[in-house]
Symmetry: C2
């Protein structure tokens, strides 16, 4: 049925299938048979690549989260542009995976560790951007670390409203995220976009 493949390719294929099934059914309801069917493969093959169901799920989420992180620009153009960029909602499916992972974290130490690692990474980027903006005089934020945590939490909470509950739309998400960021940085309405413009053309 399924042609023989290079182990690494096959492994990645299985992980991608697992991500798709997790997004569709939720972590707890994922079945090895579902994943195998998604990949077009006998379910026994999964045992050949992963020791257990738990291993597969953790590896799958780690891959998906890693790809999300890789999509952020490697060298952010400017602090304001970085924060402004994070105010744009992601493609639909991604955040549902995160929300599901949150709910699973209290019962899966391994998943919790992966989640904490990725959240820390995002937060560190935001913290760096806020400090850099302080240094460049774009804004004056007395508590960059706290503001970074609050900013990331704000995005997560808005994502719940947008992706899980459909109580806001993508434009509302972006508007409220920008407004919250401006509040945290002590900027007025439109201040973030203005700061980004100011950075794009260093000297007026």
């Amino acid at each position: 049925m399924a042609a023989r493949k290079a182990p690494e390719d096959r492994r990645a294929e299985l992980l991608r299938a697992a991500v798709a099934v997790i997004a569709r059914r939720g972590f707890a309801a994922v079945t090895l048979r579902d994943v195998a069917a998604e990949a077009g493969v006998a379910h026994g093959l999964l045992r050949h690549y992963f020791r257990s169901r738990g291993d597969l799920l953790a590896a799958a989420f780690d891959l998906a989260a890693g790809e999300d992180a890789a999509q952020l620009p490697a060298s952010p153009p400017s602090p304001a542009a970085h924060l402004l960029d994070r105010c744009e909602p992601l493609p639909d499916q991604h955040y549902l995976l995160w929300i599901d992972a949150w709910s699973e974290a209290p019962r899966s130490p391994e998943l919790a560790a992966i989640l904490r690692r990725h959240h820390s990474s995002c937060e560190r980027a935001a913290d760096g951007a806020i400090r850099e903006g302080n240094a460049r005089g774009l804004w004056s934020c007395p508590d960059p670390a706290g503001a970074a945590t609050a900013f990331e939490a704000q995005l997560d909470g808005l994502a719940v409203q947008l992706y899980a509950l459909h109580r806001i739309d993508r434009e509302g998400y972006a508007r409220l995220a920008r407004s919250a960021a401006e509040g945290l940085l002590g900027l007025g309405p439109g201040g973030l976009a203005a700061a980004a413009d100011r950075e794009r053309v260093p000297a007026t």
Copy 2:
């Protein structure tokens, strides 16, 4: 084994057991046998009170969310006190239920409807408090509806960090929540508590 009881009492007892099991195992992993064991009852009895597993879970979450809502003070002492109060973290178990429900919502229209109802209710209270504060001159918020949505989302996001990931502690939660609220309302640090004090003694 279990003594005969009044139907309403027994039903409430089963729902409370279900809430406990949901909090412990997560929605998707809840077993009728788990719930029955938690309640000290034969699992067949659940069929006597609920048509299906889905019915039981939805009714259980609705009960828990309703009880959470009932714990909010009936007539908020003052707008500032209301918002300040919501910045205090809830008892641990409650929010895990909410996070789990978010992740289940995209696959359960009934649960999604219950969630939207309760979120709307909380948000409406915050919106009212913000408008009332505007009217009393405690602060000046140009977009109360947006601020209410953002405030609730901020609390939800911080709850994820606190309850699911343990990346902040209860004090950090309260501090960041207050700070975010002040940002949304255009108040300086400590401005919320100051407004609450000012309200407690109407005229200096």
